[in-house]
Assembly symmetry: C2
Homo-oligomer: 347 residues x 2
């Protein structure tokens, strides 16, 4: 209950009958001290439950062993993999991860970044709402790695959802669809622009008419609008900006008695929790988000620790070693289409 005072290095030194500096050495580099002395100090430290003060270390070294993950919305399922991926890697390397929710607001994000400066050694910025210039400026004060964004000079990890969307279109084309809608996401979304730019030529190549609908907020609630716009547009398939939006589309179509996939095929993006739970199960573009998180963390650690190389851990085939040298070039991770029952032959 009452939190008791922590023993300091001085307490340990006194109890072990040595000077603080000796105690410090014994604890941090046992090599440079008499083995017996070192053992004694370590034993005493353990007995006293000594834990070095992170603040004192940070004050001295200027490094906090803390990294922030900055997200627009912690509760968006899309980010779970990222949280887990960065968290795992950072923990392995002895870093603490702090989570910052910017509430989808550029202002909050800017403010957060400002506060973070000095509190953390670096930050992973995911789905930033800031402009390239703002991010660039922030990168001058804080080691930054961006996810799904390309900022010249700032390392980043990209998820190739645009490529996945093209796969989705190919899948539809091969099932006989000739008129397909893309329900687009936020106008400010960098990913959304890239996807449209990839879908348009692909549609031409495949002989498919592409109708761009939206923009829509990437939420379930916007799905009804998107579904209605799709039926109005006379398409036989909709590719949605993300799964949340696709869920809403499915709901609306169901409510209107429009059979999926018989009369309308639906494809989402992200393969979030629930995509295989809805009925019909959602065909969607899956990204290796957790791997992206690990890579982002590696990129950041490489910069912080100056040239440490990314260690492969077996699950990440295709996971290139990361060095400080590479860090300036964004890494692109492949995505893939997962076909479930929400897509079928053209109605």
């Amino acid at each position: 209950m009452a939190v008791r005072r922590q023993p300091t290095l001085r307490d340990v030194a006194a109890a072990a009958g040595v000077a603080v500096s000796t105690a410090s050495r014994a604890l941090t580099r046992p090599g440079r001290v008499n083995a017996n002395t070192a053992d004694r100090v370590v034993a005493v430290a353990k007995e006293l439950g000594y834990i070095p003060s992170a603040s004192a270390r940070a004050l001295l070294s200027g490094r906090t062993a803390t990294v922030a993950l900055v997200l627009p919305d912690v509760t968006n399922p899309f980010f779970f993999g990222l949280v887990r991926g960065t968290g795992a890697r950072l923990r392995e390397s002895g870093y603490v991860q702090v989570l910052a929710d910017t509430e989808e607001s550029a202002e909050v994000e800017l403010d957060t970044l400002r506060k973070l400066r000095g509190q953390v050694d670096g930050a992973v910025l995911a789905a930033s709402r800031l402009s390239d210039e703002q991010i660039g400026a922030a990168a001058a004060d804080l080691a930054l790695v961006v996810v799904n964004r390309t900022i010249p000079g700032t390392p980043g990890v990209l998820l190739d959802t645009a490529g996945g969307m093209v796969q989705a279109l190919e899948h539809l084309a091969s099932s006989g669809h000739t008129r397909v809608a893309y329900a687009s996401g936020p106008a400010t979304s960098w990913s959304d622009r890239r996807r449209r730019e990839a879908l348009e030529p692909a549609a031409v190549r495949l002989g498919v008419e592409l109708v761009v609908l939206g923009p829509y907020a990437p939420l379930r609630a916007s799905g009804a609008q998107a579904a209605d716009a799709a039926t109005d547009a006379g398409v036989t398939a909709v590719i949605a900006f993300n799964d949340l939006l696709a869920f809403g589309v499915l709901e609306r179509l169901d409510a209107r008695g429009i059979a999926v996939p018989e009369r309308m095929s639906v494809i989402g993006c992200d393969d979030i929790f629930g995509a295989d739970l809805v009925r019909p199960a959602l065909t969607t573009v899956a990204s290796p988000v957790e791997q992206a998180g690990r890579m982002a963390a590696d990129l950041l650690l490489a910069r912080l620790e100056g040239g440490r190389s990314g260690d492969e851990d077996g699950d990440g085939f295709d996971e290139p070693a990361v060095s400080a040298r590479d860090a300036a070039f964004p890494v692109m991770l492949p995505t893939r289409l997962i076909v479930r029952s929400s897509t079928g032959a053209a109605g």
Copy 2:
């Protein structure tokens, strides 16, 4: 790119032509300094982009303005509300929230708590895997608030899921079910024990035969086992430990061609994301998790800041003011049954 050196208070003082202490005062309590001087210092600080060093402050004050949220699994949707609730409250009060994932392991949890000591001012411990004694011991070193746990002397917030389960049983009884299964959760789960203790007398009172199945891991993957055990037991309804397990039950029943709710009713717990998305939509016990998070944060802040009272924010009816004095008594939050289409009259 290259992170430049941060200006210190000394730089500010020098640029403003005053002593560091004056600069410090000007920045922290403008009242105790000549207005002109203060203005000048503030202006210079702003111009230089001065940000006080959190480490130095922490070293001096012993407080870090950081609070940890310790969870067994960050990616379990049940905890999202908690993350958001504690995060919101803490941010409001100027605290930074750090997230610690203990990977469902008591060892990792213990280790995490040990490391956290000194790094944070306090921690919210949710669904701890530790024994009462271990938590008690940890509370001697770190201000702690527990969620869904009662530890004598440690403040806590409880979600009355046991009460919700009784509501579920009443719902089933009133629909004519006379033989009902409870698919139980982890043997070490405190919540699970409370629920069984509440369900048994309720079953007697309602004239329902209660069959306890399990224990099962609270995961979708365990649902198949639970579903099979339920049909073997000849019940017409299953109440599952949580929604994840219930999803698995639904899947298995669907695969076996057993109609829900016609031949088997299914009820979950937590109302996680996806519960209303599955078909049939899941009847479940919803808890005010976000509110629980806010209250847990309030409880912790009250201890940290010594007697600050919880502020009501309009959305939390039933949200009592929290004072340091109350903190030793766990607060119990009511839950409610959300009836969807996975339950119906007894088959």
